[in-house]
């Protein structure tokens, strides 16, 4: 994997982890780095391996993925030029959270755990910069987590309404009416969520033309739209 390649001196300027370093520090950082070339399908590191090196991608693209206990691959993120990967090696003593695999021909600069550790000791800015990047990625992860939680609640509410439709639906002119008084509190209790969440979700659906709300009355105006939410179906096979 080790190879030589002419270094584009602007590369380090563009990498957050070396931001704000003076000339000498930058020279040392460069001297400690090694080029690696990765062909498509080749891995820079594997999940759960001891984090032995830290990388900056120069050209190409990598995917970072995790394997579920069932053996399914889940892609966590893609890494593009000038991005770091294997940042966890800066901390030392930890394992890689995922597997980094090249998807196209890629070149990266690699620092051993020891050399990046020494650099970080001499130039604490490197450690701070790495922390900032990791913090940014953590923020992305939290945002995604929040999205998934919200999605789950939405799907539960859609399922509950679909069940009510199956049990007590009546075809009316503008859709399917749930033919008994059903309050938002009832739906909150059916789905283990709060009245506030149910109200907010139903209002949003009303605006999108999925349901129509009345006093203790709920009409599903777009039954297929509700099923798309409940089952997480792709919406683009609909022609509306």
């Amino acid at each position: 994997m080790t190879a030589t390649r002419t270094l584009d001196p602007t590369l380090l300027d563009a990498v957050d982890v070396f931001a704000g370093l003076e000339g000498k520090a930058r020279e040392r950082a460069l001297a400690a780095a090694q080029w690696i070339k990765l062909a498509p399908g080749q891995q820079a590191f594997r999940q759960d391996e001891e984090a032995e090196a830290f990388y900056v991608l120069s050209v190409g693209r990598l995917k970072v993925s995790q394997l579920t206990p069932e053996g399914q691959e889940v892609i966590i993120r893609y890494i593009g030029p000038k991005e770091m990967f294997g940042c966890i090696a800066v901390c030392g003593g930890l394992t890689y959270p995922g597997t980094a695999t090249a998807v196209v021909d890629s070149w990266a600069l690699a620092w051993s755990r020891r050399s990046i550790g020494e650099l970080a000791q001499d130039y604490p800015k490197i450690a701070l910069n790495a922390m900032r990047t990791m913090g940014g990625r953590m923020k992305d992860t939290h945002a995604r987590l929040r999205e998934m939680q919200t999605e789950r609640v939405e799907r539960r509410i859609a399922h509950a309404i679909a069940r009510l439709v199956a049990q007590a639906g009546r075809r009316v002119e503008n859709g399917i009416l749930i033919d008994f008084p059903v309050s938002r509190q009832d739906i909150a209790e059916m789905t283990g969520t709060t009245l506030h969440t149910v109200s907010r979700t139903l209002s949003a659906w009303q605006e999108r033309g999925v349901v129509e709300l009345g006093r203790q009355k709920l009409t599903v105006v777009d039954p297929h739209g509700l099923v798309i939410i409940a089952e997480d179906l792709p919406a683009d096979d609909s022609d509306r």
């Binding site: 199956a166 039954p223 509700l226």
Partner: protein, 88 residues
Amino acid sequence: MPSSDAVSVITAKTTVAELLRCCPRATGVFLRRRMHCPGCHMSAFMTLGEAAASYGVAAEDLVTELRGVVAAETSIIDPDQTSRLSRL
């Protein structure tokens, strides 16, 4: 030819649930067209025409294909199918 009666009662106004109750084998038609109607809570309320529109499928094509399946089924498997379907 007993199947012709059965076939002609299937129209774009037949609900998905009615059709599947009488001809479970038609499930395959929906699955091949990537329509999620079989087992859907809405199927009792959605007509074949509405289901087709929801998935961007031409209702005529869907009805024609379903009639083909029902015709094959009634002539081979279930002689009562005609009477059950005509009560729809």
